[in-house]
Subunit: 210 residues, 2 copies
Amino acid sequence: MSKKQETKARILDAAQVLFAERGFAETSLRAITTRANVNLASVNYHFGSKKSLIQAVFDRFLADFTKELSRELRLMDASSEPVTIELVLEGLIEPLITINKQQANGISIFMRLLGRAYAETQGHLRRYVTERYGHVLEQFTAQLQKAYPSLDMSQVFWRLHFMLGSLIFTLAGSEALREISESDFGQKVSIEELIHQIIPFLAAGMRAEA
Amino acid sequence: MSKKQETKARILDAAQVLFAERGFAETSLRAITTRANVNLASVNYHFGSKKSLIQAVFDRFLADFTKELSRELRLMDASSEPVTIELVLEGLIEPLITINKQQANGISIFMRLLGRAYAETQGHLRRYVTERYGHVLEQFTAQLQKAYPSLDMSQVFWRLHFMLGSLIFTLAGSEALREISESDFGQKVSIEELIHQIIPFLAAGMRAEA
DNA sequence: ACTTGTTTAAAACATACGTTTCAAGCGATG
DNA sequence: CATCGCTTGAAACGTATGTTTTAAACAAGT
């Protein structure tokens, strides 16, 4: 049996934050191990390589997130209440709120990581994520279509990505944006308030006439 | 007087594409100079440093774009026709179409660069861009508010960024998304078609009830 | 044609990085 | 207590990177 999973977790914690803040290439293993207070070699010992560490960070994050999202979607499916776009979006938001409760700025970190994975054209990361967690996205798409059956699948696909763009982009930069908002308009907006401002925007966009 | 601006332009051309494709840290000066068929040292000779080269790439791109966008906005302001959200968005799209005509996949390259600049929290790049070209964004915001006067400034600010998220995210990944769309739904969507699908989505989102 | 300022070429430099190595440390098992 | 597998520590290795250097090539002015 393994003695210390603590080192592994410490590395993941540090890597997660630094990757989100600076990016993958810009974050050295030395920066990670220094922050985690572990030895440099322990990364290669526990994860094999830097690339595998990056995947492990995504796995830990996405495993939790997709599990909870999938649960929300199944509950929605079983419920007798009619599915609306707002409900589907709430089901997506709920796991994010959970993340934010478990970790300070968790949403921002999560979204920054997602954005970076998305930006990787060449890298295997994007393929890895879509292959491993693509089924939840399909599940989500299915609910979306159920909420808006008159929209054909191709348009659901595109509008889904319009929504993801808004969400990932805004929440990834939410800290900076909230600071600007505060200095310009004098009122600090919480992440949860912000999210509940996005939902009507997205829902209205989904319902737009083609 | 300078003799050869050609080397400088060749470097910018190569750097622009590679930065958009792979990112800044992932693109070496050697990769750039090889692609541009120039000597390695010429980057430091003409631009001083890699960081300055990155800024120069943004400058060339944003100078053209903001100039044309600013012109569109001024025309709109002078026109007697009432300003609508759709019109403002068209004014934003128009310079993008121009870019795409001047350069293959120009929109995607431009948006990928913008996305990367946005993702840089620590780097000076984001601050550099916002300080140098922020006035055009303010101009754009002003028109948006004129098109929708009942929305208070703080909400205009947020919804503007919701829209930017959709645009940058979708258009940055448009090549991959259009391939998925083609294989899943059998129809290839052109960039221009795609853009004209986004506009009603964004406009409806802007008009959403709070 | 010679000089001068600018640009290119090739090589070298210093450094930061991911990875590997190997010895020491540790914890449980017999 | 001795032994064995797992984990940590410190150092070194090889390599790729941004930058600098120095000389050659070049264009233009007188």
